[in-house]
């Protein structure tokens, strides 16, 4: 799938030590999927958010150990997520070592914040399922993800897809229509 930042995941991680915003781009690209991954396995948005924070903190700490040839960056990230989940099950609580070392402030999430996180995880799960079904084209999937999950402007989406603003809008609206048809299709 195309991404708003044209650099690959591996490039973004490799540049983290000199360009911190690169890690932000990597995070934006993967946070919906990671959040949905944890929520599906814990059935709890609060725990899923806690795990997501710690997983990305660990990924940041270990960014320099990532070797692009070994495996795709997404597989590396989800490996961190799986290990964290296993550790947390074993200990009965979410680890926070990486966040402590990085000096993160504790986040107290309001109900609105949880609703937003839920909406993002819902949309990521639905998009992933639609992607597997082939319900969306690559451009549509990117446009819907950028607009709905990352709240990006049509100008940004048009720039990412190297198309006009109007075509970017069409990708979003057609993608959403396809998703709607998919939702309405009887199981």
């Amino acid at each position: 799938m195309d991404q708003p930042d044209h650099r690959s995941d591996a490039e973004l991680i490799a540049r983290t030590s000199t360009d911190p915003e690169s890690f932000g781009a990597f995070y934006r690209r993967h946070v919906p999927g990671v959040l949905a991954f944890f929520r599906r396995r814990t059935s709890d948005t609060q725990i899923a958010l806690d795990l997501t924070s710690e997983a990305f903190a660990r990924a940041l700490e270990h960014a320099e150990t990532f070797r692009p040839g070994d495996q795709p960056a997404a597989a590396w990230l989800y490996g961190i997520a799986r290990n964290l989940l296993t550790d947390s099950y074993r200990r009965g609580q979410v680890e926070d070592d990486a966040r402590r070392r990085l000096g993160f402030d504790r986040m107290v999430v309001t109900d609105l914040g949880y609703d937003r996180a839920d909406a993002i995880a819902d949309a990521a799960a639905e998009l992933a399922a639609a992607d597997l079904d082939g319900a969306l084209t690559l451009n549509q999937a990117h446009a819907v993800e950028a607009r709905v999950l990352r709240d990006e402007s049509y100008e940004q989406i048009a720039s990412d897809l190297r198309c006009s603003r109007q075509v970017a809008r069409q990708h979003v609206s057609r993608g959403l229509r396809s998703l709607k048809r998919r939702w309405e299709k009887p199981a």
């Binding site: 000199t18 995070y27 993160f104 504790r106 993002i120």
Partner: protein, 276 residues
């Protein structure tokens, strides 16, 4: 940090941490641990909410009250929103009362309540359910041993002796009712449900007699959303529309006093439970 947008705030924290690491040659792993501990100490205590993970379904054992303070359970979190210790709490709510078979709206009201310690002041407006016009204003101040209330429709200012046992709610006050039930340990955590289009946690209590009391709160924070009080087929639904924790000072103490009502006819009566 209280956040409405945890996804963006997490990104900010990650980028800030990446910036620090880039500037210092990522200290956490090498000169590492000491610097990190100092950094953590500098930003204050960092505590992750303790959670218990169960296979396939996590259950939260720690909820947060007002200001994000940890409160052991959702019931305690709900109580901490209503606990006035060291503060004046100002809440606003509207009320709809239903009665009859089938139940129909027979009364609508809008209320401001301020309370601190043993003192509580309510200012409410009764509204006609037919044309939404205000039909009466009622101002009540309740203190241990006395109840004073002004009623606009009769233009009377009543002072009533109150001899009920300590801790018993002064009147049909849902907030005081919840606090009394909490102290009796009668509130239990119910399921989540929807109210006004949002997800809420139901806290349920059997009240006195046929009374059933349901308090709807934010599912994780325990913030007040609504209270439903049912007794003998009648029902009141209170929907919270405003909440403030105010400092105790000259201005807020004034909010706890009955306002002057010149020309109101004074009435003095003995109250329920008073003998002699």
């Amino acid at each position: 940090m209280i956040t409405d947008d945890p996804i963006r705030d997490l990104e900010r924290q990650l980028v800030a941490a990446a910036t620090t690491r880039a500037a210092t040659g990522h200290p956490a792993n090498r000169s590492g641990r000491r610097t990190a501990i100092l950094a953590a100490a500098a930003v204050g205590l960092l505590v992750t909410a303790a959670v218990v993970l169960t296979g396939g379904g996590g259950s939260v054992t720690s909820a947060t009250g007002p200001g994000g303070r940890p409160a052991g359970s959702i019931v305690q979190a709900a109580y901490s929103w209503l606990d006035p210790t060291g503060t004046v709490i100002h809440m606003q709510f509207d009320t709809r009362s239903y009665a009859g078979r089938p139940p129909v709206v027979h009364e609508v009201g809008q209320t401001d309540v301020w309370y601190s310690g043993d003192t509580e002041r309510d200012v409410s407006t009764k509204v006609s359910p037919i044309n939404d016009r205000a039909v009466a204003h009622l101002e009540t101040v309740s203190r241990p041993g006395s109840l004073r209330y002004y009623e606009s429709n009769t233009n009377t200012l009543t002072t009533e002796r109150v001899c009920r046992p300590r801790g018993t709610p002064a009147a049909a006050d849902p907030v005081a009712e919840f606090r009394a039930l909490y102290h009796e340990g009668r509130i239990t955590r119910g399921a989540t449900s929807m109210f006004d289009g949002r997800r809420v946690r139901r806290l349920v209590a059997r009240g006195r007699g046929t009374q059933r009391f349901v308090y709807l709160v934010g599912p994780r924070t325990g913030a007040p959303v609504a209270m439903i009080d049912e007794a003998g087929g009648d029902r009141s639904t209170v929907r919270f529309t405003g909440y403030q924790r105010l400092p105790v000072n000259v201005i807020t103490r004034r909010d706890l006093r009955l306002q002057p009502h010149p020309g109101a006819r004074p009435i003095h009566i003995g109250g329920p439970g008073c003998t002699g």
